[in-house]
Amino acid sequence: MTTQAIEPRMELEQHLHMYRQMAKIRAFEEQVNELYKGAKMPGLAHLYIGEEAVAVGVCEALRRDDFITSTHRGHGHCLAKGASVNRMFAELLGKEAGYCRGKGGSMHIADQDTGNLGANAIVGGSAGIATGAALSAKMRGSSQVAVCFFGDGALGQGLLYETMNMAALWKLPVVYVCENNLYGEYTPCGETIAGEILARARAFGIQAESVDGQDVQAVHATMRKLVERARRGEGPAFLECKTYRYYGHHVGDVNREYRTKEEEREWMTEHDPLQTLAQRLTAQKLADRSVFERIHTDVKAEVESGVQYALAAPYPEANEVDQDVYA
């Protein structure tokens, strides 16, 4: 089934849903920034703002029982796969009501119910889990697909290539999604990535594509194709999404002297994923400004209520410290 085959109305609903998901992630992350700056959130926070179209376009192409693995910059992936704002905030604040009972934090959110196998704070560290999940799906004869999110920084890690090699050899239903936001931590990717990114995947015989990661419709359409292909047993795929993180590597990275303010401004004004979709739907007269305003009002309310819920929630009991060390 292609996008064209879907009825226009359903398609519009899906696009508005994707807009809502992106708006929710942005509102969530803006709130994380405030919490962090206000010293209400501990640890580290790596914001996803600017990259929303990647998580949303990818996860909208998945079923609820499909799997994802996430990264240190993972809040967007979790929300896009269906995580609740309340339990996300509770985890970020280290509260018992959080997804990991407050024991994982920002960089380790997992949600079994939505197939989120967990964020991994080791760059490229979840490639094994995602590939193993795909092996499990294949062995069990289920039609599930696994998606491995990672950044351009992970392209330097050996584990990624070890697992891509096996995925290709065994035709596993896994899609490797590279969020290329141009900087691995504080270093422009040109200084760390030799050769061509897609050629690396193609060397294993893996279907590889590149897409504008700021265009949620493009991400979604390409991802659908790769997911359906994997689901049919035609093997793994690699998708590079060209994107940009509006903030620094983490919240404390405020000066960002490794890139120019002009570059940041250009991405924010010319390539913003929310604006891009809103402008397109408006130009096509499928929606007007009020529709988007209402979405922003809704998600802001949801996020605000989530923060209040998390702030009021209790910390884990003392006996939790050595609970769940062993199953």
Partner: protein, 329 residues
């Protein structure tokens, strides 16, 4: 009871568990077509097929990671390390992911995974093939660590490890694969993880040892019996969780302890055992705990140097005589 080699006992354990539970599968280098580098997986490909006996490229980190993902999602992989030294390539996956996932996810995911293969010193395999890798892993909360000394233990403990819901590091030995012993035929024969065994009862001194060191300690105990020294031999079998109760019980009886381990002594198994004996049974000791360990050096290749690096029967004899001559009472 049948008499079989340690290798055959492991093979039988794998076979029985694969027959019992379709979720169990074997994955690693050379495990299928070649029947295993040390033939532990011999015949499994023939019986269970390529879907359940998965040959991999040489990529310890990659196939361990794949095992972890499969374990999280309904399967029970047994990952083979051709030798445990190579597991260092997979250390991040084992320590950062397998060991922590259950805790980090607030109990949502479990990793019922066995990582098995030979480890410890063998015969002139030199520095990168002779490490006692258990010392790297028993420090990590979330992992269980097993070192089976006899064919019976090899079978009973491997079966328990496969049925356990946690990641289990299961380290065998090249030097023991040919060793023969009695092994129960019962397909439900299990030895629980975390249970030590007293291999020889004695009254004068407790010697704690496992794997090849246990056989040297046995040799020493027989020699010492001729001198009128009665040695009690305790084999922990599982290093984490450790059966401290059995060891402490023996110390309360003999009041003297020697711990033997093949690996380097600094921050080794002996350090931990000496520490908990001091904490729990200080007043029962008539002499300081002695450690006989590998020298604090990488394993040399030359035969004479290798012997100097390794705890020998002579070194065990000397240590036991020292603690028995010490008079703390």
């Amino acid at each position: 009871m049948a008499v079989m080699t340690y290798r055959e006992a492991l093979n039988q354990a794998l076979r029985e568990e694969m027959r019992r539970d379709p979720r169990v599968f074997v994955i690693g280098e050379e495990v299928g077509l070649y029947d295993g580098a040390y033939k532990v997986t011999q015949g499994l490909l023939k019986e269970f097929g390529a879907k359940r006996v998965v040959d991999t490229p040489i990529c310890e980190s990659g196939f361990t990671g794949v095992g972890i993902g499969a374990a999280m999602l309904g399967l029970r992989p047994v990952v083979e390390m051709m030798t445990f030294n190579f597991s260092l390539m997979a250390m991040d996956q084992i320590v950062n992911t397998a060991a922590k996932l259950h805790y980090m996810s607030g109990g949502q995911f479990s990793v019922p995974l066995v990582i098995r293969g030979p480890g410890g010193p063998a015969a002139q395999l030199a520095a990168q093939h002779s490490q006692s890798m258990e010392t790297y892993y028993y420090h990590v909360p979330g992992l269980k660590v097993v070192r089976p000394t006899t064919p019976m233990d090899a079978k009973g403990l491997l079966k328990s490890a496969i049925r356990d819901d946690n990641p289990v590091i299961f380290i065998e030995s090249e030097t023991l694969y040919h060793l023969k012993g009695e092994v129960p035929d019962d397909p439900d024969f299990l030895i629980p993880l975390g249970q030590a065994i007293v291999r020889r009862e004695g009254t004068d001194v407790t010697v704690v040892a496992y794997m090849g060191m246990m056989y040297r300690a046995l040799e020493a105990a027989e020699e010492l019996a001729k001198e009128g020294i009665s040695v009690e031999l305790v084999d922990p079998r599982t290093l984490r969780p450790m059966d401290t109760e059995t060891i402490i019980g023996s110390v309360r009886k003999t009041h003297r302890v020697v711990v033997v381990e093949a690996g380097a002594g600094f921050a080794g198994m002996g350090s931990e055992i000496a520490a908990f004996i001091t904490e729990q049974a200080f007043d029962d000791l008539d002499a300081p705990v002695e450690r006989v360990t590998g020298a604090n050096a990488p394993m040399p290749y030359a035969r004479n140097l290798e012997k100097l690096k390794t705890p020998t029967t002579e070194k065990i004899l000397a240590a036991v005589r020292r603690v028995c001559n010490a008079n703390g009472s």
